[in-house]
Structures are given as C-alpha cells and as structure tokens.
C-alpha cells in the first residue's frame, strides 16, 4: 500500500517567552497508508493537534521530513501550500466550522472553488455529496437551521469535495451527543470502507477510536505507541 503521509523525526518548538519553551513535537515518526483509518489519541497538550496542523499544512515543523501523497513538503512555499491544502487535504473540525451566511450546498461548493473546480461541476458534485451524507433535502438550509449532527455531515461532505488524499478530523464528535457521535463515526467508516477514503482522526474518546485500523498514542510530544 502507498503511504499518504510519511512523517519522520517531526519536531516543533513554541517559544512562549525567553524562558518558556514548549516542545510540542519531539521527533514524531508516523506513516498513514492509503485507505487506512488511523486514530491519534492522547491527553491535552500531548501534541496531537500540532501534528494535525503540520499534516494539514497549516504549520511547519522545525525539524524532520514530511511527505504527503508523494510530495515532499520540506521546501514547500506558502503559495504552493494552499493549493496542496485545497486538493490533497480535507478538514473536519470539532466545531463544524461552516460559514453561517452560506447554505449547506454553498458551504460544500466553496471547497470546490478553492480547489479550482468549475462552477457547474462544483454544484453537481456538491449535490452528489449531500446525497451521500443523506442531506439532499436540506441543501438550501443555513447552518443555524441544521442540527449539530447535520452540520458535521455537511462538513464531511465539504471535506470530500476535492477528492482529497486524506481527511484530517480533529475531534469531530467533540460537540455531539453519544448517539450522533456514533452516527458520524459510522458515516466516516462507511466512506473509508466503501470509497477507500483515508482518514486521520484525533480523539480522546476511546469508544470512537476502538474500531480504527491503527491507533497512535501521543504523550508529551512523542509517539508512545
């Protein structure tokens, strides 16, 4: 299997002040294979979110190498980063992060816009994805007219818009009740199973992580398992 993510010796230091230096990542190695459903678990401050930001090209490591879908990110310029982010990476956030002024359909289409998709293609694909997540009938509803579970479904559909190499989900069930959480995880697993969509999930909920292909445990900026 091809590696979607190949990370070796990733280090990230935050200098909060002259004396307060935080080693957020302290030499992390991690490979994520295509079609894999990986969960990263660990307590707060363990470095899992920093790792997600680096994988999502939202931040740069101070040391180490990172290859995403065969492309070495070491020498990547900021201008190239946003293009890769749009085409190779999908994000699902804890707080759904939909744009309030846009309808469900428009929120999904927005990802297509930044991914360079044509307008007609964008709409067609967004409708297909809304069907896939079971929200076709709610396409013209604004986020505040949808339940938390429905908003997260829209966010998943948006993450799928540009057929990314990997979807990074940062605590996707953190703001949902147990029943809805399970529905969302089930939807992601279905997409992983049926469409071979690669997922990398950050969670502190073992219930959510238990059925994943791989579980990575982080502690104090290091991978412990």
């Amino acid at each position: 299997m091809k590696n979607v993510i190949e990370a070796k010796g990733l280090k990230k230091i935050y200098k909060m002040s002259k004396t307060n230096i935080v080693h957020a990542l302290n030499g992390v190695d991690l490979n994520v294979e295509e079609g894999e459903f990986t969960a990263i678990i660990g307590p707060s401050g363990s470095g899992k979110s920093t790792l997600m930001h680096i994988f999502g090209l939202l931040d740069k490591p101070d040391e180490g190498t990172l290859i995403i879908d065969g492309i070495d990110m070491s020498d990547l310029k900021d201008k190239e980063a946003y293009k890769l982010r749009a085409k190779k990476i999908g994000f699902v956030f804890q707080g759904f992060n939909l744009i309030p002024a846009l309808s469900a359909l428009e929120n999904i289409m927005l990802a297509g816009k930044y991914g360079g998709m044509k307008m007609s293609e964008r709409k067609q694909r967004a409708i297909e994805l809304l069907k896939l997540v079971g929200l076709e009938s709610r396409m013209n509803h604004k986020p505040n007219e949808l339940s938390g579970g429905q908003q997260q479904r829209v966010a998943i559909a948006r993450a799928l818009m540009n057929k990314p190499a990997i979807i990074l989900a940062d605590e996707p069930t953190g703001e949902l009740d147990t029943k809805t959480s399970l529905e969302i995880i089930e939807l992601m697993k279905k997409l992983n199973r049926e469409d071979k969509q690669t997922f990398l999930l950050v969670t502190h909920n073992m219930e959510v992580a238990k059925d994943c292909n791989k579980i990575v445990e982080m502690r104090d900026g290091k991978r412990v398992s």
Partner: protein
C-alpha cells in the same frame, strides 16, 4: 464564478445591514458633494473655456489703467493709438469696441448681482476686417447675426439673455431707454456669449455716452464749442478753454474701451503682441493670447482646486468609515477567514474578497451619492433654467468617472483591512473558533 462571488459579497454586507447602510451613507455624502461640486466646476470650466477660446483668438488691447480683474473698464482707448497699432509689423487688422453692462447698475438691489458672466452689451464694428481666429461665426438658434448694412436698432442675443429677459425673435425690446429689434438668438454656448447682446458699435457708443455724464456733457457741448472761434477761445480762462477744446475734439466714432487685433497668417501672435507692447507701453495694456491662456488656466486650476478640495475632504471622511467597517467586519469574521484558508483559499483570494467587498460598499455609496446629486442638479437646473443661469453641467462621462472613482476609493480604503485579513494565521484564526 463572478456572479457567485458577488452574491456572497452582497450577502455578507446584508448580514450587517445597519452598519453597511451607515457606511454606504458616509461614502454617499462624499460622492454627493463630489458630484454636485464637480458638475459646478464643469459648468464653470465650460464657461471659462469659451472665454479662453475667444480671448486666445485675438490680441486684446485696453487703455492703460484698466484692471480686468476688478472689472474697471471705463477708460477710453484713443483712436490714434489703434490706427498706429494697425501699422505694426505682423498686424492684419485692428478694431475698436465697447463692452458695457446691459442693465444700469443698481447697488441698492442685491438681486442685480448675478452668478457667472453678467449680461453685457458687446458693441461690434461691422465694417472691420478683423476676425477672431477661434471664433469667426456664431451658431444661431433662431434668426441671424447682425451684419454690415443692418439698421442700428437691431440686435442678436445670447441664449441666457433670451431666457432671462424672456425676449423672443422679432420682439421689440428696450435697452437703457432705447428700443431695439431682436433679429437673432444664439445657440447655447455654455460660455460668455450666452450673456451677450450683440449690437452695432454706433448704437453701443450712443448708449455708452448716455450712461457717462462726462461724455454726455461733452457731446452736448460739441455743437456749441464748434462755433467758438480760435480768437474767442484764446481770450477765455484756461479751465474753460480746456473744456471747450475737449468738446471740440470729441468725436463719437473715436469712442472705444478696448481694441482687438488679429495677426497675419504665418506670424507668431506673441511676437506681434510683444511689438505692440514695446511700442505702446505708455498707452495700452496688451493681452497676448498665450499669456491670457496661461492666466485663465491658472485661475481655472485654482478654482477647481477650491471647489473639488472640499468635496474630496468629504470623501476622505467617507473612506475612513469604509476602513472602519472593513476592520470591524474582518474582526468578526476571523473564523470565516480561518475556515476559508483551511479549505485552501490563498492570501490573494482572501485579500481580493475583502477588497472587493470594500469596493462594492464604495460603488453602492457612489450610486446613492450620484443619484441624489443628479436629482438635486436636475431640480436646481430646471429651476434656474427659467432665468437661464444653470450653475451645473451634467456630464455622463463625469458621472461614470465618479462611479469608477467611488469603486476605486472603496478598494483603496479596503486594502489595509484586506491585507490584514490575508495575513491572518490560519491556526490563530482556527484557535479563535
């Protein structure tokens, strides 16, 4: 794509209706002032251009002591001097003329003071070979221009005079107590001639003498003075003798308050003007076409700066409200910016989106300001048209330029906030979510 973007921009603006409307209104006030002041400047410039065209088409001669800026044009130009100027190298023709106010000045009636060019009688020498190089013929709306051979009691009038005085073609009208027949009404020129009454020089001289007690007295004494012999004259006291000599020498056909000189083809007008200046420096003031053109341009630039400066100040204040609104908007939409960047939006596209939003605010403010401004101008001009003294010139190109300017102003005001939005760190924005 652009329609979609525009819809999103309009929707974002509508999300904060009250604030957006206040900002638009701030810009609208500035653009309104700019439209109205600009239209006024356009009208004044048009009037000035007409005058400039006329004055640069000839060398104008005035008696020494004339102050054009203060409107003191009462001094006489000796006919001998004009005859001598006619012989200066390069001069093609010289003509004398009289310009005088159409109505007798009434300092007790402030309403007699008018905006723009005052109603003026332009005494024309119809027998002269002189021709203004830039203004040989006048376009007529009705009838015809006065010409050589016409009786002395016919006049042609400018469009503003026709409106103001309600004079029509073939009307018999009274000017300073004398009756004239209107045989022509000029097309609107938006400049000086609109306020002119064109009259034969002989008739103008008569009116001029009537209006000047000293000349009137000389004219009345002329016949009596002519009958006094040289011997009788010598026996009189000096003061009386001088007065009688003046009366004897007085000739109506010598009366001129100004002269116009044309130059021969292929000759430099400035050279001719300088020659006249050198030879007659103690007698006349010479206004060369080039110098007059420069002076008019200078005055016009100063006037435009004063008129448009105030309007630009209002616009500046308006543009600060756009900056304020955009900064507020960006602070409130940090989350959105983070989301968009995480979806792959480039710094450029974020900056463009916010700059365009500011541009749309500017354009909407521009449309509102122009709309109100045009409405006011139309109402005002219609009201003033009754007296022929419209003070605004509505020009579509100018309005289009103002609209484009309001868009650019919005963009410029939005640049700083837009760059701020574009430079926002995604992680910071995400952490604020």
């Amino acid at each position: 794509m652009y329609t979609h973007n525009m819809l999103e921009i309009l929707r974002n603006l509508w999300r904060r209706k009250f604030r957006t409307l206040l900002t638009i209104f701030g810009i609208a006030i500035g653009i309104f002032a700019f439209t109205v002041m600009g239209s006024m400047a356009l009208k004044l410039n048009k009037m000035i251009d007409g005058g400039k065209k006329y004055i640069t088409g000839q060398i104008t001669i005035a008696p020494k002591g004339t102050d054009f800026m203060m409107g003191q044009m009462g001094a006489m130009l000796p006919v001998d001097t004009l005859n001598k100027i006619d012989k200066v190298e390069g001069v093609e023709a010289v003509t004398g003329g009289i310009e005088m106010s159409l109505d007798e000045p009434n300092p007790d009636d402030p309403a007699s003071m008018s905006f723009g060019i005052p109603a003026t009688i332009e005494g024309m020498d119809l027998k002269t070979d002189f021709k203004n190089r830039n203004w040989e013929t006048m376009e007529m709306k009705e009838g015809r221009m006065i010409k050589e051979g016409d009786p002395d009691d016919v006049i042609a009038i400018g469009s503003t005079i026709a409106l103001d005085k309600k004079w029509k073609l073939d009307d018999k009208v009274k000017i300073r107590g004398r009756e004239f027949k209107v045989i022509g009404i000029l097309d609107k020129t938006m400049s000086g001639p609109d306020s002119y009454v064109f009259m034969s020089l002989d008739s103008t001289r008569e009116l001029y003498v009537e209006s000047n007690p000293f000349l009137k007295s000389l004219k009345e004494q002329q016949a009596q003075a002519a009958s006094i012999s040289v011997r009788e004259l010598a026996s009189l006291p000096k003061a009386t003798r001088d007065q009688i000599m003046q009366a004897k020498a007085f000739k109506m056909e010598d009366l001129s308050t100004m002269g116009s000189v044309s130059w021969k083809d292929g000759v430099n007008s400035e050279d001719v003007a300088n020659r006249i200046k050198d030879q007659f420096k103690d007698e006349v003031i010479v206004l060369s076409p080039k110098k007059m053109g420069e002076e008019i341009d200078k005055a016009s630039a100063m006037m435009n700066a004063v008129i448009l400066g105030g309007a630009l100040l209002a616009l500046l204040v308006g543009s600060f409200s756009v900056i304020n609104t955009m900064i507020m908007s960006i602070s409130e939409r940090t989350r959105e910016i983070g989301i968009k960047k995480s979806l792959g939006a480039s710094n450029r596209s974020i900056a463009l989106e916010y700059a365009l939003e500011a541009g749309v605010i500017g354009t909407l403010g521009g449309l509102l300001g122009i709309g109100i401004g045009v409405l006011l101008i139309v109402v005002f001009n219609n009201k003033m048209a009754e007296t022929g003294a419209e003070i605004f010139l509505l020009d579509f190109t100018f309005l289009l330029q103002v609209l484009i300017f309001s868009f650019v102003l919005g963009i410029v005001a939005g640049i700083m906030p837009a760059i701020k939005a574009a430079k926002m760190k995604v992680i910071k924005a995400i952490r604020e979510m």
